[in-house]
Point group: D2
Chain length 362, copies 4
């Protein structure tokens, strides 16, 4: 892949998710940010201007500095943006906007999205790097059905990501029957509009995140599902989630109980998790970490603050792996994955890299 | 019961748990604090002096003001304290000290303890108000076996309390088969020596609390167990827990999944929970709340900050009651219970009240 | 004052500040809530309906339960609300709305407001209970100038309240020359729309609150000012503030340095603070605490979590009183006052009570 | 300076401050860790063993991984450690231990310390990089007085560091008369034994840190003082501090008010701060950041979470620079500096680097 030859657009560029895309694309070896789009309100302004709030504070919220070339780009109206000259669109808009905008682009070019709008359509794959790349066959079906030259592939919900990733090697080796998961989610998962108020989460836990549990339950089974004669059949395993919000900035923690088809010892399960994804890692994609799953034996890990940034936020850490006495062939563990890196923009970019190596993009 | 006629001692009086006993006993209608005991270091000092740290700061840590009469009491050496004239000893010491000290007192008088030292002995009941008062029959066995005039009854671990309480009505009506619980525990559960450091829990979750999961698993089955011919048989249900620490001051949150013997609808389960404990409440014990379990239908409750103080910290709040698709006859819910009130001193005092009405104390 | 004879309206009733008024007015001995008003969106709905959000969650955010009679009141459109039959209007709207709405009501009845809209007008007193009741003379001037039968009196900014209160006795006895204050403000001061995001304040301090420092500087001098021939002359003292936001739910902490005209020892200053407000307290107004200022000698107090609720949130706690070596006749201290009780609704209600005893209301 | 030729020891190596030294010395171009020392309890163990707690958890608390070569070093008893072959000792022990141990080493080699034990001795310089290197002349006096071949130079208290650094350029250009500072300090400043409890600082501010204010007041004047005929005369400026603890992990925030000899506009003061330290930076010392002071114009900065790591935690960020109306020639600003990097180990190492280039070390 020659140096930055893929021209990409980021739609929803002024929002927090859009900013995370821009931060992750700075100095990307294959991709260059060619266009930015946002709502009408920002259209026509330079990007740095579009970020200014009335009091003069910059609404650039990610810790990485804003790239000076990107700061100078003119923001286009997302409804009007032409895809001419683009190889790929990253969509970071809310779900309602995604439903309207993404098909506009997908008629012409591939769209990789963090929105949930198309996740539950039967001809739309929800890719998780290293897990279900065989679902790429759905892309052709999607193109045929919809008459698009491009396609839409949304990434999974940020809470699904670590869960599905950790379940995949267990399913492959031991067969998955039941999954019961309780999440302790970071505030950044809710973005900033309106986001999570300090008044709600300081000295507190909020045991509810709208629609989150259904997303996790449906997406996990879809991601782990099998293509049979071109149709994606969700995995049979039963998945049940309770999702909570805690006073953590970044990094979702998940307490997982699983029942397997075959008995697995802690050592066997640990080995399966450790060995997972080596082929995918060996592809050497620019955003891919050295290990998809890191297994820790330290008794009090993983912890979101200490483990979320492993592998540049792209490695999921699994710890406290134990046998579970309450389920048949039961295992339990705790995982931490970075909800705004692997679980959002950087995960989508990694997906774009893989699709590029396979000829779906570019 | 005539006005303050029960003379009680609080052992471990200078620690946080001991202070919680003293705060809860101020103006108690039946009990008066007759003696305070602590380690040798405090012995011989007035209580208010014993609390002073070298810089002059008072180490009285509970929000209620220190009662002036208690402040004047002289602290005795716990190893030397005579039980003469006492009707009851509340023990708030650490487990190692409890193993040594509690038998000294139990030879003569009843001891109600927050320590785990004796919880797992076959002749020791672990009472939970309204749940397993029939286990009182073990007291006679304990006295006979050990040759004591008094006895030891520890309260459950603070994480077990809300769990076992919420499981009891479900077990009674629908039969309990499996329990999978993830806790999000408050910092106060660890006390102050050493306690939970801000450096560990700010912007973080610690997914490990030493020995906690085993305590929950064993104690829950013991509390829900049955006496058969004088022997306590733990409940058959499988119980599995993952315990975590979050940045919350007080109030443990627990995400619970249960498999029942018989199918229960959400409405039926809610009714069972709501109706639970009415007979016990009707006894009108001084520390008993108006409802043992409060069931909420609000979609985002219970929350520890908003619900922990319900019923003076003595009511457990259950919410988010839903069917669970991953277990046979599955239900899931979230509960909040106050770990240092119902889960420690006030729970022990309520137990003492009940034992007094039954003639075991006084 | 006979039992609930004053009929009051709360405008902005659905917002957080409005809710705090309603919580504080339940079972008020003199006042009954006769009307509720809010924006057009809520108009015509029962109050409990108006609080419902689309997902069914109640947006009743204060910890006290919603009074069932108030829940049934119909919400009126604030622009259309008639003042007929009302004795007093409490206004809890944002400043822009206040500028438009408050004159509509003040033409007919007294308006006590938490908004800043009229605070800086020369004919508008900014009352602080026990501090500047002599400023009531401005009310007559305001009525005359504006041709109103009622009047507007806004309470001070929540950060000004504790500061001005603690400065008053020092000024009375020793004369005030300079004030340098750094605030550590609670998240609740920003309300909920948009409020303070967890993403901004967890593991962080935000050293800026828009317009806050100017408000504190101007209001403090106005409150401590003198009426000279009917004109309010701000106090000559120089006041300088730096305002920051910290991860605290309720209760503003302020670090204060003052230069006095006359040297005051720590003991003398403490005595002045302790003795302050006894005449006002002696009036026995329903919302008045037993002491306006509580002075603590404990080395590590006041702390917002431990001291904010003193006197039902109506007492300001002053501690760490020390001589200051960097200013002439310097003193320094730390104070905590409750920003949403004394600093908002309850403070406004106390003001209403005083105005009622003086015949300005009712 | 040839590649790692300076052999250094870290004393107090198992504590948090010691670990920060070790993390900062990994791959240092000039220094190699030749020895580790700690209390008797750890003596004789390999370093990785000495860190193990009874439950098997590693007590390595800094985020950087433990260097594998250092993990293998044997820990010596600090009381017995020979200085033979050492060029420099970094001492990270508590103050009481420092008073005893540091002279043992200083007889033979230079000792750079984070402890306060010797800070207030007249023949001991308290170096702040770029600020008071001329105080090095005291070293010769110290050697002569005490008959030592080495010497002791403690770094300043972590709260003094940012303050004195920001005051220096203002003093140089405009003359300093008064300083009034309120700190909002991070939990890491208190280390881990006992450290700051979550129970004390969640939803709270603690307005007291033992001895901190005196340290800041005395050290600031000492650092800014002048050598006159070999005697260090503290600066005349009056310095007054109020120190508080907030729920922040790392990074001290300070709100500063200063009165200057000469009027300085915001632009002039900003320029003085921006230009400060260029000569020192130009030396190119390995631990020196690109700017000692970064001045920001963004209205809501500096913030500890966003600014503490600037320049690898070695740059102090100053913002909110404004004229102050309450002091003669007054200025006010807010600063953030990293308390455990510039304010502790990395600051000490930078000092060591400078002393090496001047021939005091090595």
């Amino acid at each position: 892949m020659p140096s930055p030859s893929l021209r990409v657009a980021v739609v929803g560029a002024t929002g927090l998710a859009g900013q995370q895309f821009l931060a992750a694309l700075v100095r990307h070896p294959w991709m260059q940010v060619a266009k930015l789009a946002a709502s009408e309100r920002s259209a026509g302004k330079r990007y740095s201007q579009a970020l200014q709030d009335p009091s003069g504070t910059s609404r650039w919220f990610v810790p990485e500095p804003l790239d000076s070339a990107i700061a100078e780009l003119k923001v286009e109206d997302a409804r009007e943006m032409s895809t001419a000259g683009l190889d790929l669109v990253f969509s970071a808009v809310e779900s309602d906007a995604a439903r309207e905008l993404e098909p506009l682009y997908a008629r012409h070019v591939p769209v990789i999205s963090t929105a949930s709008a198309f996740r539950y359509e039967p001809d739309v794959p929800v890719f998780l790097p290293g897990v279900n790349l065989d679902h790429a066959a759905l892309i052709d079906r999607q193109r045929a059905t919809r008459g698009w030259r491009g396609f839409v592939t949304p990434g999974p919900n940020c809470t699904t990501v670590g869960l599905a990733l950790s379940l995949k090697p267990l399913d492959d080796r031991f067969g998955l029957r039941r999954v019961l998961m309780t999440s302790l989610q970071a505030a950044s998962g809710a973005g900033r509009s309106p986001g999570v108020l300090a008044l709600d989460v300081l000295d507190n836990v909020v045991p509810f995140i709208a629609k989150e549990e259904q997303k996790v339950e449906i997406e996990t089974r879809k991601i782990l599902g099998r293509l049979e004669q071109g149709v994606l059949r969700p995995h049979d395993a039963a998945v049940s989630a309770t999702c909570t919000r805690v006073a953590v900035l970044d990094g979702h923690t998940e307490s997982v109980f699983v029942a397997l088809e075959k008995k697995a010892s802690v050592a066997e399960a640990g080995q399966a998790l450790r060995e997972f994804g080596r082929d995918f890692v060996a592809l050497g994609l620019p955003s891919c970490p050295a290990e998809l799953i890191h297994v820790t034996d330290e008794p009090d890990r993983p912890q979101p603050r200490l483990d979320r940034d492993r592998g540049g936020g792209m490695t999921t850490t699994v710890g406290r792996l134990r046998e579970d006495s309450a389920l048949e062939n039961g295992l339990k563990y705790v995982l931490v994955s970075h909800n705004t890196k692997l679980g959002a923009a950087k995960g989508a970019i990694l997906m774009g890299e893989w699709l590029a190596t396979k000829g779906y993009v570019g």
